[in-house]
Symmetry: C3
Subunit: 288 residues, 3 copies
């Protein structure tokens, strides 16, 4: 019996990235459907839950992707609302890689030095990856500041994540060199979650910083989020600090993403969101 993954994308054109990783994670067939949202998913979900005998339902799974975490989250919940009794299949949310990228990044930071009690700053943290990284940093015991160029967006993200995952995040506005400097005051950990090609941090801001110990930046396109690092950095010592670049994080992210796909097909009731995915990352790396 084939392992069938149904990828529901909130964008009109589904992601190639998620398709490749799904195959490499063990899906026999990946069917991608674009333009899916909470209000048109009902019959699609029924198609997934009604078509195989109970003992075979673990071979069907649903993956939710797309560039908008809000839409994906709503879709993810709507899908589960159509499940009943044993009429359910495993489901995973990884909107633009938010959960796997954040989990890989935070897990590496945790390996480089315990995060408990540290002050961690997520720069440009209102996107999918940033929000989830902030949650995982907080779950690892750090005090987390989440920055945005606009205070209102930062507040919204902190509130949303607080409500959903029960963590406390501090919203901070950081729109230029000076305000970023203030956001970093006393911080030991910095996580860059900006869009491709956006510079978040100048070289001198982190290289001579008193308290910063570890930095991770997810970007893989020049200019990188942090000036003066290399996207291949993986626990690389630079100016007395431990540095991770986008490709350095990416290797674990890919491994984790594949492991999550594999996990989907182990039973018909896996629900892989931030919590579960972060736990899988920790198991994989022996952090727990």
């Amino acid at each position: 019996m084939k392992k069938l993954l149904y990828h529901f994308d909130t964008d009109p054109i589904p992601s190639v990235f998620d398709s490749v990783v799904a195959y490499d994670g063990g899906a026999d067939q990946v069917t991608q459907l674009g333009g899916i949202h909470e209000n048109n998913c009902a019959s699609l979900v029924e198609g997934a839950i009604y078509t195989r005998a109970p003992k075979h339902k673990k071979n069907t799974a649903i993956f939710v992707g797309g560039s908008s975490l809000i839409s994906s989250q709503s879709l993810f919940e709507a899908i589960q609302s159509h499940f009943f009794q044993d009429f359910r299949v495993s489901v995973m949310l990884d909107s633009n890689g938010c959960n796997t990228t954040a989990a890989a990044g935070v897990t590496l930071l945790n390996q480089a030095g315990s995060l408990a009690g540290k002050i961690a700053v997520v720069l440009a943290g209102t996107g999918p990856v940033g929000q989830r990284a902030a949650v995982m940093l907080a779950q690892s015991g750090a005090q987390v500041r989440l920055t945005s160029r606009e205070m209102s967006r930062s507040k919204q993200a902190c509130e949303d994540m607080g409500k959903q995952f029960g963590v406390e995040l501090a919203p901070v506005e950081a729109r230029d060199h000076g305000s970023v400097q203030i956001a970093l005051e006393g911080a030991q950990v910095v996580f860059g979650a900006g869009k491709a090609g956006i510079r978040l941090l100048d070289a001198e801001q982190w290289q001579k910083h008193d308290s910063i110990e570890i930095l991770a930046d997810v970007s893989t396109a020049e200019p990188l989020g942090f000036e003066g690092i290399n996207m291949n950095d993986r626990n690389t010592e630079r100016f007395g600090k431990k540095v991770f670049g986008g490709l350095g994080i990416g290797a674990l992210k890919l491994k984790l993403h594949r492991a999550c796909i594999e996990r989907l097909f182990t039973s018909n009731d896996q629900v892989l969101d931030a919590d579960a995915i972060y736990k899988i990352a920790q198991q994989m790396t022996g952090s727990r």
Copy 2:
């Protein structure tokens, strides 16, 4: 050589249900295209018929799905109009499972007691499943009444099916408790083909009914079409009547649907519409 199924869906988003069943029915690869209609299918059909050597064409097949039977029927005919000589592939029509669900339901009714000479009522029979069930009941020797909330729609459906399959169906308006009661007068067989969540029959209407012997309802979502039955019923004795629920029918429907997919790849000239699919159902269950 891979068995390739091309699923042309008249809806913009293709069906997950049909995808899962196609794989379980033996297709090696299922390619689903949405938004296909009689006027844009020509080059797609050419792609199916020109690409493989004559002896290999049986490994390519086309499945027509979608929620509108009228559009699907037109598409089904348009596809075949592009075939010539041996430039053809097998093709199946199962708009929203109309043929396989109807064939499974009617086959089970037939097994529970011969339909020849009986009066059969298809409630809410103007949808894809209802129309095809009415045809198959008539082909099994029953006198068939097809009901709708609007007489004009019932008449249209009876006319369409009569023209296409050469059966005589009686249109009946049934819009409330009283008119349903009249529609059931003297009937031995009742087939419920309503939409999910629509109650067609109150418990007391069938439980104390004088002539009704067998009931089948395709719905799998509460409230079921017939009050007081269970969707798992499969030839279950209730109030002296034999009852079939949506999941009871669904098991045979799935088996039949898979068998049809398998059949598609046995030669390059299979044409699976209501007639052929009903025959396959009867062969599977040894009814013929």
Copy 3:
């Protein structure tokens, strides 16, 4: 590790033809995305180049198809602009079969008699197949005339191909019996690249022609481009001339198309456009 082909189609509904051939050419999974253009392909390309380790990247490839050669060509170039260092995958352009059909046709003509020094006329040559056939005829040493019903379109096509492939093509207007007759004056080779169902050449125009030695017409639907030939002709002697019909060319075209797909997965840096595909055709047939 599965060989994954990502088919980016510039049309909204991707091609079934290219899907079948891709599977027969050895792709393990073909994922087709419609509506792709130069401005929305960036993240899709990133998904292809970032997801596998360097030694495995040869198992991912991109195919560009669609009915507009201009859009496909822009997309083909945009895709490659996102490659850097070893972050690249193999890519093929075959808009409506332009390259494989033209290469198969011209290779067969070349086998039937050397094209060097001959005058070759591509009738209705402004479409994808015609433009590429003209280029390949020129590369084989022929003096090439490219006709269109409108001089401006012919000039445009000759200019475009000249710029891109460094060949010299002569634009000719040919809109009726008389102007076609003039276009054929002194020609030894005629290649018909018209749309399905468009007659390009009357029987008497070629059957009694003084200089014409070889004719090839790609059409596979009646009426054929050249009156009096058969679509199965493959180096068939008719009226003292060697004739190739659409299906006669099609057999080699399919074989070539499959060989190109196979080639895509031999390394991660194959770039298969007109030049490369014509070379593969010549290698396959031992012409070189």
